[in-house]
Amino acid sequence: MTIQQLPNIENASPATKNIYEVDTFVKSNTAITEEYRLLILEAPKTILNCQPGQFFHLQCPVTRSHQPYLRRPMSIYSYSQQDCELQFLFKVTGEGTQALSELKNGDTLNVLGPLGVGFSIEPEWENLLLLARGVGLATLAPLAQEANRLGKKLTAICSARSPNALMSIDYFKDMGADVITITDTEGTSTLDNMRHIIELKISQGAVDVMYTCGSNRMLKLLQEIGNLHSLPGEIALEQQMACGLGMCQCCVRSFNRCGVITQERVCREGPVFKIQEAMPW
């Protein structure tokens, strides 16, 4: 299969252009749990110079039963320039994701990206702790890959409703992570238990930085723990978007920057922000 690129890639204004609107092709689109699907796309190398935590804005197909109009932002689950591959892990929740779930092998999907500011890994951070639940794990997966590449030590606390609903455990293990699973059905996913596990890791000197995604509950917990132990952290946030490029001002959220409440665009200044600057909602 050959990759078609829109003419704009070649005719670009070279000074600033590093975001691409291109067609990709579906290599596979499969259910991996009852709720989640993995979409693997064949994509041009040019667009795969990504950072963990960045996202693409997907033009979901219009079908007889689903007519999404706006693009849908989705964080990258995996990217590889070598394989010309871009992967998304998503939960079918609405018009856009339903339309995505119907994509067949060989279908075209127009994507815009890579977009936003991703996670940072400072050289002095040797021990990374990841905490996420559900689709939040997808957002943290490329971070685990990058940490592995940099030879960092990694602890991944993966939360889910039940053991069957746990995802990407093998993926995190392959990245050399010490994986701790917590679930609702086993009664291990409570705030108290999460706090206990993280405090234990900190006491063992196994945490220099904490990363999380999406959840208000986890944000508050990591803010508390981070304050207590003076640990830095980063969170990837979600917000409804229209353009995804920063033009429309749809996706703003409030942040606390040194005591001043500011409005920042999740698509542009984010989606990754400092944990202590994010505001619980």
Binding site: A12, K17, I19, E21, Y69, A242, L245, V252
Partner: protein, 314 residues
């Protein structure tokens, strides 16, 4: 080679395609070459800093969208120090969209943005969000006249009045804007609309109501562009629901001298550049040398005498 040049008063545009205010910013330079556009039109700015409306600020309706972004603004100083210099890198006319809550406020900001690097001022007298219940200057000829008169004495730059579909007096408002010194009309802004989630029974926008844009708005804005072109002698800039080259041609035939692309850029960030190529191809295929040959070429002479000419409702 077709000639895409068009004139808005004294201002010559290399092509008739420009962005609609609020759907364009410096950020788009990372996707396309901003030098290709006929003009650059900024997001509306206000004199003071503003936060904008509560979330959710956008929702989709079938094939179109509603927005209640409001007018978040970093204020005039930031705009003059940062935004104008950015656009000065490009060899493209810069159109600055302004808004205020009062006529005097409009005149003040108009004077302050009348600086080198700015080629025209678009007057957003029609944004449905800024005043209570969506009321705006452009809803009535009298308020249009009073604000445009003040603006006219505040600047020597061309003034483009952006009209609103939220009026039953399109022609009267257009004529009031022309009489009080507008150099062109942008037709039009978004239409006040609403959507409700039937499960939560909550309005889908944090601001309860917002402006409809996208393909659903096109027949309404096209009708207004036609009415305005028939009623005034200043140029009309068509705006509303344009996403294909056929839409552009339709607006030109209705009487628009140039057009603005808005919501389509949210769906396809390259839309304006793609449309420019499509427009050139279309004109070549049709053997039309100048786009001016299309402007206002609508064949409405066969309409029967009993057509109620340009009434809002049939």
């Amino acid at each position: 080679m077709v000639n895409l040049k068009t004139k808005i008063g004294e201002l010559i545009l290399k092509n008739p395609i420009m962005p609609a205010s609020g759907t364009f910013s410096e950020d788009l330079a990372e996707v396309l070459d901003l030098n290709k556009l006929g003009a650059h039109v900024t997001k509306t700015i206000t004199e003071e800093k503003r936060c904008g409306n509560p979330s959710p600020r956008v929702c989709e309706v079938s094939g179109s969208m509603l927005n209640s972004i409001g007018i978040p603004s970093k204020g005039i100083e930031y705009f003059i120090d940062t935004v104008i210099p950015f656009y000065s890198q490009y060899n493209v006319p810069l159109i600055v969209s302004i808004s205020a809550q009062t006529s005097d406020g409009f005149a003040r900001i108009c004077e302050r943005v009348s600086v080198p690097g700015v080629d025209a001022i678009e007057v957003n007298i029609s944004c449905p969000n800024i005043e209570e219940d969506g009321k705006a200057f452009a809803m009535r000829p009298s308020t249009t006249q009073s604000v445009m008169t003040k603006l006219r004495s505040a600047t020597d730059l061309p003034l483009w009045a952006k009209l609103s579909p939220n009026t039953g007096e399109t022609i009267e408002v257009a004529m009031a804007a022309e009489e009080s010194g507008a150099d062109a009309l942008v037709v039009s802004n978004t239409m006040l609309s609403m959507a409700i989630d039937i499960h939560s029974r909550k309005p889908k926008l944090g601001n309860l109501m917002g402006g409809l844009s996208g393909p659903s708005l096109k027949p309404i804005a096209l009708r207004m562009a036609y009415q305005c072109a028939k009623s005034v002698s200043i140029p009309i800039i068509g705006c509303g629901g344009i996403s294909t080259v056929e839409d552009i041609i339709e607006y030109l035939i209705a009487g628009a001298t140039a057009i603005q692309v808005g919501t389509a850029t949210f769906i396809n960030p390259n839309a304006m550049v793609t449309l420019l190529a499509d427009l050139e191809n279309f004109l070549q295929k049709q053997n039309i040398q100048n786009i001016s040959d299309l402007i206002g070429s609508v064949r409405d002479e066969d309409a029967t005498d009993d057509v109620v000419f340009m009434e809002t409702a049939p």
